[in-house]
């Protein structure tokens, strides 16, 4: 089907293009054709086709044809001719005619008679001159100057030869002709043409008879006869006939084959033979007209022409008279073949078969394409299902936002996170923004703009209010979507519920804050003791000076100047003390430790969770070796964790230079026989310089390039406040281990203050 759909327009296009491509600028020439008989005259029809064909294919002029029919057989009176001339004169008064073709002598005669006032000086081609004598007269006439012409064929011999060849038994030839002037012309042609056969065949004269008689005579013709049909425009009874229709009657009546000289009779009951071709005559006449219009003087062209013939036969007549096609001369055309079913409908059959084959192929291909489509559809369905499954079963809340702000896709997991269903989001694109808490909308808006400008905005975090009114933290990442041509198709986003993580982070932060607070408290404790130390200096001095002054004064006169020195010292150190006091800022609130029974293992475990991911501990492996059963100790979780953290940070520092595989900590808990619980933190670092061992726990003592030297001092303070002790030992195999003990809560009456 598709093929036809393609071919027809292509053909149409070709047809349309044809005249266009042939359209060259050609001079316009107007040619008048003047026919002697009426339009229905078969020979004229053929002539007309020949003329038109010749003009149509000429490459010199764009010929416009005008045709006029004199209809002389019905309107032969001179008055009528004059009226016609007047009519034509008026009709063509404003039209320049470049050449006139007259067909049959009558038309030429008519024209020449009116020529002084009708188409004067227009060259004339007198086509189909029916007699040689007429032609000879014309040759001698002064009109020859602008007239040339063609002779209609009169070769009876050629016709007879064929007829006799096909019917060798022929002894009689019946000549049939009418009584009209035209009938006389052609009868004369036959009579003169038959003269050479006078001895061989016997002429049966059936001319100038009434039609009835003619027919009756034809029925009784002997079998060794044949009929030559000239023309019957009018029968012997004066009845007018169209020669072809007359021929039909004659042929039907005739007991023997009928032959005629003119091609125009083929198909109306004659066998055929070598016949005058009016089509060829018309072409020839048109050829002469063209030559003349191109400038050749008519007088230079010999009257006569080629007298075109055609060898053609009526297949039906051949069958009727049992004439074998094989006997026909070479090059003969056979017309009116009543084709067999196959012959007649070969095209249709072929078309039908082709149609069936094509249809079958189409059906097959349709089935195949249907199958393919089904398979493709099922593959698409499978793929769709696969991708939908991938999308729908994501844990995170996924969506695809189109450039126009609508949602192409929302994963069902949104309901788990937001409480709203995917449908609710799809139906109301503004819902998404609505869920975001007002404080975070600006952040979201900025990010959203970037995403739609395809800036690859990365990720943000924001809070949403769920359908149930809960606040959740969302970690949002998105990426612009483009098709293969780079067209922006929106934004593909993934939202993860990180509320738990945020909560843990918050708690960890809180815990760190607490640790920091403890550290600060302890540091302030140390600070206070430093301040006390600093303050004790002037206080001690003042007391010394006072004692000295008192003693010098009791010595009387000699001691006075020294007493004054002492008093000045008192004043100086008093000022110093005052300055020190005024310099102290940010006094601490007194912290009250809250001791509760705690399990050391869980305290350690909890701390390890909190510090996980802390960059300081990166690359460090922490092993734990916990005693399965330990007594509870009375203590403050956070303070104990502070001690552990301090010990671990020390260990990390000690292992700074260690190989990566030695960067390891072992935290061990065990039962301490008389003291409750013993905790140790073992490292694999450089160990402790024995000479510094005593000072490790002193405040402001440090071997590190940075640091206050407070960590271990604070740790010691905390542990001793818990009633335990803390110490360090070098490991036999390298590195150091810090120990601390804590009394079991059942055994201890409670910790004492530091």
């Amino acid at each position: 089907m598709a093929i036809f759909r393609l071919i027809f327009p292509a053909l149409l296009l070709l047809l349309l293009l044809q005249p266009l491509s042939a359209a060259e600028p050609r001079d316009a020439k107007r040619v008048l054709i003047l026919y002697s008989e009426d339009e229905a005259h078969p020979a004229h029809e053929m002539t007309d086709q020949g003329i038109r064909a010749a003009f149509g294919s000429n490459k010199f002029f764009n010929v416009q044809l005008y045709t006029e029919y004199l209809d002389v057989s019905r309107f032969g009176e001179p008055s009528h001719a004059r009226a016609t001339a007047d009519y034509l004169r008026g009709k063509y008064s404003g039209v320049e005619i470049h050449a006139i073709i007259t067909v049959y002598p009558y038309a030429l005669d008519f024209l020449l008679a009116e020529r002084s006032t009708l188409f004067s000086e227009v060259p004339i081609i007198a086509a189909e001159i029916t007699s040689r004598s007429y032609a000879e007269n014309l040759e001698r006439s002064p009109t020859r100057r602008f007239v040339t012409g063609t002779l209609i064929g009169d070769d009876i011999t050629g016709l007879m030869d064929v007829a006799l060849r096909l019917r060798p038994e022929t002894r009689h030839v019946a000549l049939v002709a009418g009584t009209a002037p035209n009938d006389a012309f052609s009868e004369e042609i036959f009579r003169s043409g038959l003269r050479p056969y006078a001895g061989r065949i016997d002429l049966i004269d059936l001319t100038k008879l009434s039609m009835e008689e003619t027919l009756s005579r034809l029925r009784s013709l002997p079998s060794e006869a044949l009929v030559l049909y000239s023309t019957i425009f009018k029968d012997g009874a004066g009845k007018a006939f169209v020669p072809r229709e007359a021929l039909l009657l004659i042929s039907r009546a005739a007991a023997v084959p009928v032959f005629a000289l003119y091609e125009s009779y083929l198909g109306f009951g004659i066998v055929g033979g070598r016949m005058v071709s009016f089509h060829a005559q018309g072409k020839e006449a048109a050829g002469l007209a063209l030559r003349i219009m191109r400038g050749e003087p008519p007088a230079d062209i010999t009257i006569g022409g080629d007298q075109g013939y055609v060898s053609a036969y009526d297949w039906r007549e051949l069958k009727r008279w049992n004439i074998s096609e094989a006997d026909l001369p070479a090059g003969s055309q056979i017309r009116y073949r009543t084709p067999s079913f196959w012959e007649e409908y070969r095209g249709a059959i072929l078309a039908g078969i082709s149609f069936i084959i094509i249809e079958t192929l189409l059906v097959i291909s349709l089935f195949m394409s249907l199958h393919k489509r089904r398979r493709a559809e099922s593959e698409i369905a499978a793929t769709t299902l696969r991708y939908r499954t991938v999308a729908d079963y994501t844990y995170d809340w996924e969506y695809w936002l189109a450039p126009d702000g609508t949602l192409n896709y929302v994963s069902p997991s949104c309901e788990r996170i937001t409480g709203y269903s995917a449908r609710e989001f799809m139906d109301d694109p503004s819902l998404f923004l609505g869920t975001i808490v007002p404080e975070d909308r600006e952040t979201w808006g900025r990010h959203h703009r970037d995403a739609h400008n395809q800036l690859n905005p990365g990720g943000i975090q924001f809070r949403i209010r769920t359908k149930g009114g809960e606040t959740r933290w969302i970690d949002h990442v998105c990426t612009p979507v483009t098709d293969t041509q780079g067209k922006f198709l929106g934004v593909r986003a993934s939202n993860r519920d990180i509320s738990d993580r945020k909560k843990a982070e918050f708690e960890a932060q809180q815990h760190r804050d607490e640790l920091a607070h403890v550290t600060r408290v302890a540091a302030m404790g140390e600070l206070t003791s430093s301040i006390a130390h600093e303050l004790n200096q002037p206080l001690a001095a003042i007391r010394n000076y006072a004692n000295a002054a008192k003693r010098f004064l009791s010595q009387g006169e000699p001691g006075l100047s020294k007493a004054r020195d002492a008093l000045e010292g008192i004043i100086r150190d008093d000022r110093r003390a005052a300055e020190l006091i005024s310099g102290v800022r940010g006094l601490l609130k007194k912290e009250e430790s809250c001791y509760r029974p705690v399990h050391v293992n869980s305290v350690i475990q909890e701390m390890l969770v909190f510090i996980r991911g802390d960059s300081v501990l990166e690359g460090l492996s922490i092993e734990t070796d916990f005693a399965p059963v330990l007594p509870a100790v009375l203590g403050e979780r956070v303070q104990l964790q502070q001690v552990l953290l301090n010990l671990m940070l020390n260990a990390v520092d000690a292992m700074n230079q260690s190989k990566p595989d030695l960067r390891k900590l072992v935290i061990k808990t065990e039962n301490d026989e008389d003291r409750g619980v013993k905790v140790s933190v073992r490292d694999f670092g450089a160990g402790i310089d024995e000479t510094h061992k005593d000072k490790l726990f002193e405040p402001f003592y440090t071997t590190k390039p940075v640091g206050m030297g407070m960590g271990l001092a604070i740790s010691q303070r905390i542990i001793s406040a818990h009633g335990g002790s803390i110490w360090a030992e070098n490991n036999p195999g390298g590195g150091a281990t810090f120990y601390f003990t804590l009394p079991a809560s059942t055994e201890s009456s409670g910790p004492h203050g530091a």
């Binding site: 002037p538 001690a540 010394n544 004692n547 010098f552 002492a566 150190d573």
Partner: protein, 208 residues
Amino acid sequence: MTERKPTIFIVDDDPSVRESTELMLKSVGFNVKTFVSAQDFLNARFQEGPGCVVLDVRMPGMSGLELQEKLVSVKTPLPVIFITGHGTVPMSVRAMKAGAVDFLQKPFEEQDLLDAIQRAISQQRERKSKRDEADELRKRLKALTPREYEVFSLLVTGMANKEVAYELGTSERTVKAHRARVMEKMSARSFADLVRFAETLKTHSTDH
């Protein structure tokens, strides 16, 4: 022993404490010398003499405790009294174990320091007299013949004459004769004196 007036050496980086203590001790009548650091004091190379060191524990550079350790290694150390603005128990324990006379917290009572100084001076004096006695005894010891020294050494361990004779492979009578000569040469009025002398010598033998 007729003795020189004792000198108190004050080592403290804090000028107020240093100067006020100096003035206070002078008002009482002591000779006082002050130093701003431990190293400063060591550089002065003091000969032995009556007196003591009043030492601040925490100082820049060498700490008081470190200085104490160095002083202990000297033949006749000056007694040390620590004064500190901020002392800890381990610190004081360590100081006392190393032979400090006292460990005072600033601000200290004048009397506590004076008592400590008094104790230090008498301690030093006692040590000096012991050391002088030991020197005298050592001189007397050199007058003994080798056999007499052997007899002396064994007798002071508590052996009877008979046991000493057996130990030395001689007669009890001979031992008795040696014993009488030892008593005479050592100027011991009784055997108890002799045992005490031996003890004194033993205590101060490390000085040699």
